[in-house]
């Protein structure tokens, strides 16, 4: 592992709006440089995408961007990031995604030129490799349209590159449903790490070639899947909280390979990455309830640099089109945080305390995100001798903090969850640190028809 010490050691320095290594975009947004900006995410309403006639799709995206940026100007916004997280067809047929970037970027440029509004597009193609089962993580032809969209999309105005990569997903879904922590850690700390190394090397090369910023990844398909399952009461919240900590190491690999941030919004592993590497991050909380429920509505903002809504459909609400409405909500959240920054460190810490204290007690998934706990867990992660050791250390520290929190009354006690602390402790402690030993341990317990080890270089 590249990182063996923290970039931010003091919890009081893990704050919103400021990162040790800010990122400056093409139109001058300094992310992590002392302001929080909204990051608007959007998608189509229920409709078909016809590759033969993309005009209705283009019209939707143009309407979204025009409406949102008009509102941003009216609200005197300091700047906006627009995340274009493509729908599958837009990556399968990269020419669709490229055309949409081009059209949206033209609108951004117009607002920048005429109103001085700093706005950038974060381009997030789909990881298509999931379509093949078992997936061919390294040899799939589906990597070609993904990389084409990254490269040509970057040339057309995608200034920040990101992805929700899926290495290990063929194992993790079942592992989450069975609450099998060994398999889940295998999916992330072995398969995920190996896939991230391969994939992010390619993305960083494209970013360097095209002169744009390699943003970061997110374990959305893993940590957020766990969170959504816990919200549905399908799996224990404690399991989901530890699953979140597990995802830190695999997402960290993007930064090891050259990603600069901002890390992508739907990864609540972002605060750990910020503490370890100093990159700026994007987070989503209460203003993302349009896309999914969560137990981290306020605390998610504690140390964020971009504030996101995850995704909202372009549908009409009473006030206007939903993306415009959500831009306004994000902007007011950002404005509040920026006012605190203007007031000085004491104001920042006061507002952060309210974000943190209003959520941390109610759910272990929120509890592990307090700045103090993020730093404690991150300290353990960077002590790890390798990715598996780092993951184990982080998880065991998180379990210890959760257990202590329950005992000292700072975390709500839920009887149904009790046994899981011990189950997880035993399970995680039994994992060998050597990768080959770990592979040998888990392979007999897995449905091997779902996985091709050689596609991970194993």
């Amino acid at each position: 592992m590249k990182y063996n010490e923290l970039s931010i050691r003091n919890p009081e320095d893990l704050i919103f709006g400021t990162a040790p290594n800010p990122v400056i975009t093409g139109r001058g947004l300094e992310i992590g440089g002392g302001l929080v900006y909204p990051e608007l995410n959007f998608t189509l309403p229920a409709m078909k995408i016809d590759a033969e006639d993309i005009r209705p799709v283009v019209d939707h995206y143009k309407e979204i961007v025009q409406g949102a940026l008009e509102r941003a100007v009216d609200l005197y916004s300091n700047g906006v990031v627009l995340e274009f997280e493509t729908l599958i067809e837009m990556t399968q047929h990269p020419e669709i995604g490229i055309e949409l970037v081009k059209q949206m970027n033209a609108i951004c440029e117009n607002f920048y030129t005429n109103h001085g509004l700093k706005c950038e597009i974060r381009l997030t193609p789909n990881d298509l490799r999931e379509f093949e089962r078992p997936p061919l993580q390294r040899t799939s032809k589906l990597l070609e349209p993904m990389m084409e969209l990254f490269e040509r999309g970057a040339e057309e105005g995608g200034n920040l590159l990101s992805i929700e990569s899926t290495g290990g997903k063929e194992i993790s879904d079942d592992a989450l449903m069975m609450c099998d922590m060994k398999q889940f850690i295998f999916s992330q700390a072995v398969l995920g790490v190996r896939d991230m190394k391969m994939l992010w090397k390619k993305i960083v090369d494209i970013a360097n070639k095209t002169g744009v910023i390699p943003g970061g990844d997110t374990a959305c398909g893993f940590g957020n899947t766990a969170m959504v399952l816990a919200e549905k009461k399908y799996i224990p919240k404690t399991f989901a909280a530890i699953a979140r900590v597990v995802t830190v190491v695999r997402t960290l690999v993007a930064i090891e390979e050259g990603a600069k941030g901002p890390d992508k919004d739907c990864g609540y592993e972002g605060p750990f990455l910020k503490a370890i590497t100093g990159i700026p991050i994007s987070m989503e909380g209460k203003t993302a309830a349009c896309a999914h429920l969560s137990p981290v509505g306020n605390i998610a903002a504690a140390c964020t640099d971009l504030w996101s809504n995850e995704s909202v459909q372009n549908i009409k609400l009473l006030a206007g089109m939903a993306p415009t409405v959500y831009l306004e909500q994000l902007e007011y959240d950002a404005r509040l945080m920026n006012q605190a920054i203007k007031g000085g460190k004491a104001d920042v810490l006061q507002l952060q305390k309210l974000f943190v204290k209003s959520d941390a007690y109610y759910d272990p998934q929120a509890f592990v995100l307090t700045p103090e706990n993020v730093i404690r867990i991150s300290e353990e992660i960077v002590r790890g001798g390798n990715y598996i050791d780092a993951t184990k250390r982080g998880c065991l520290k998180a379990l210890e903090l959760i257990s202590n929190g329950i005992q000292n009354g700072s975390l709500m006690h839920d009887e149904k969850e009790d046994e899981w602390i011990n189950i997880l402790n035993e399970d995680i402690s039994s994992i060998p640190e050597k990768e080959s030993d770990f592979v040998e341990m888990v392979m007999p317990t897995m449905d091997t028809s779902k996985l091709i080890l050689s596609e991970y270089g194993l």
């Binding site: 998608t43 309403p45 229920a46 409709m47 078909k48 089962r133 449903m177 099998d180 399908y234």
Partner: protein
């Protein structure tokens, strides 16, 4: 209900697969659904009774506990595994016709969509309720569903989608199915799907959770 059938129901309720399985801890070393089903058949117990008065009852209890948020999914999955272990012994009786399932349920995540956690849960619950489940997987187009209907006349179809841009594919799949079989019952589910959408596209039932799907299917054979 005989003692051994009740024991089978109990093993399935608490996820006791076989003698060597460590779960649940309080039943370590005891026979599980695997051994007990074999013993029951050896004793001459009616396989249909083993299935419907033992296994299905056990899974019903688990489904109820799950619906009431008293247990998590992994516990339900252990029950499903216990049932599968017992079913291995019952399988030959399906082939001979002396035991019948309630029907055939064919499900899949619709074209363009790769999400399958919800689909898998629904399939498991429905299998546990005594149906034969045929899982077509993810990214499934209309033709595969139509072919399944031809292969399994009278089957019920389940369509799953998680994306707003793929739920619309449900409509075309329903249309294609109606062209070949107007009477086939079609269930739809998934995060963006609603009862209104279900009615709009001409499907027969929408359920927001797996138990709702089981309840609906049971009305078809009541």
């Amino acid at each position: 209900m005989s003692d051994i059938i009740e024991k089978i129901a109990y093993c399935i309720e608490f996820g006791k697969i076989n003698k060597s399985s460590p779960y649940p801890p309080n039943m370590r070393g005891e026979d599980g659904a695997d051994e007990l089903t074999k013993q029951a058949l050896d004793q001459g117990t009616d396989p249909d009774a083993i299935l419907n008065q033992g296994m299905v009852i056990g899974m019903n209890r688990v489904g109820k506990k799950f619906s009431e948020n008293k247990i998590f999914v992994p516990q339900m999955l252990m029950s499903a595994k216990a049932m599968s272990a017992g079913m291995e012994h019952i399988k030959p009786f399906f082939q001979s016709g002396s035991v019948k399932r309630k029907g055939v349920f064919v499900l899949g995540t619709v074209a363009g969509d790769l999400h399958d956690i919800g689909k898998n849960l629904v399939g498991m619950m429905i299998e546990g309720a005594g149906w034969e489940v045929i899982d077509l997987g993810v990214d499934v187009g209309a033709q595969k569903f139509v072919d399944s209907i031809k292969e399994h006349p009278g089957c019920v179809i389940g369509l799953s989608a998680l994306l707003t841009t793929t739920m619309v594919n449900m409509e075309s799949i329903v249309e294609e199915i109606r062209k070949v079989s107007a009477e086939t019952k079609i269930l739809v589910g998934g995060a963006p799907v609603s009862d209104d959408f279900c009615k709009k596209i001409g499907a027969d039932n929408y359920s927001s959770d797996p138990q709702g799907a089981v309840d609906y299917l049971n009305t078809l054979v009541a």
